[in-house]
Symmetry: C2
Subunit: 199 residues, 2 copies
């Protein structure tokens, strides 16, 4: 399976051009990057749907189900998972307006436990954390994140990200080149289409 | 990482005992099996939340978000994914009341395309299909399913399942021993805790 970073995207319901600004949020950037990576056949990574519990459902005139009462549930896992270079990929993405630290309370305990389990089962699990005021987005290995906060820390200073995490390069397309970061950290180098993937 | 099939499940919010009957639906059986597999640390496999699009949200007296209008979206991927023996696992589960065939129209075209992509990326992707009136549940490899229906077939006869698919054994706990079926088909044998999994 081959891909090229220069591939032209045609006939797709995507509007890469209109969204390119620094104010775009992290979730949108990741979703667009994932769509791009899917189109060029590099990885299959999706955001899981937001867990919603319907409590009241009725049918409209067209006999279509309409939910008339529902509530948001606490997610039991992370936001994103999928497959890349034959490996299971799992991550949570968060952004903060703080400039000096990331507040750990924004990540649920069972999400951290989930990341830990995935690593133990041989998957690649990490956090993508954006400091929006600094225009910096970091990939933090799950192992590094957990080992840091296991010392009962409730905030992670920016220095940790500078020293221990990996800054994700941005581009026009994909917006966040986070698979390149994964290549570097987890695979020891760039993807080689001729040897590394099934056809 | 070790596990035992005889592990006792304690302090869990599970009601394995009350549900054991042939009338239980497939989704429930798979979810319970996945909870069991997770507890014994054998695999991490989740059902993705049902994709729901909220269109109207308000806040109640406790400032909690309440959705007052929403609709079900067509799922773009499969129902289940996760990690087992370091491999990415992805599947769709369906049941039918037919005794003689499975109607392919019940599976969305993009779900089949998704299964196909996952296989090409080196993942394990399949369908679990239950014939509820026959009390038989089969695992069909994605490859086999796709190659059969690519001949423009709109139904798959029961003979295909008997000849080409793998019947999933049921038990008290887990209800569906589908990881044993995966062991047999994809790994050529049973799981060996000492050699096959990271610690």
């Amino acid at each position: 399976m081959k891909y090229s970073n220069n591939i032209k995207i045609k006939n797709q319901n995507l509007t890469f051009t209109n969204h390119r600004n620094r104010g775009a949020n992290l979730e949108e950037d990741i979703n667009m990057s994932n769509e791009y990576y899917k189109i060029i056949n590099r990885a299959i990574i999706y955001k899981k749907p937001t867990p919603i519990q319907p409590t009241l459902i009725h049918y409209n005139q067209d006999k279509k189900k309409i939910i008339s009462k529902a509530y948001f549930k606490v997610p039991s896992t992370t936001d994103y998972n999928g497959i890349y270079r034959e490996k299971y990929i799992d991550f949570e993405a968060k952004e903060t307006k703080n400039k000096n630290f990331y507040p750990v309370r924004n990540i649920h305990k069972h999400q951290i436990e989930h990341i830990d389990s995935i690593i133990k089962h041989g998957g690649i699990a990490f956090f993508i954390i954006r400091f929006s005021c600094l225009s910096k987005t970091y990939l933090v290995k799950g192992e590094d994140f957990i080992s840091y906060i296991n010392n009962k820390k409730s905030t992670i200073p920016i220095s940790f990200f500078i020293d221990t995490a990996y800054e994700i390069e941005e581009s026009y397309n994909p917006r966040l080149k986070y698979l390149d970061t994964i290549d570097k950290i987890y695979f020891g180098g760039a993807f080689n289409a001729t040897t590394n993937q099934k056809n």
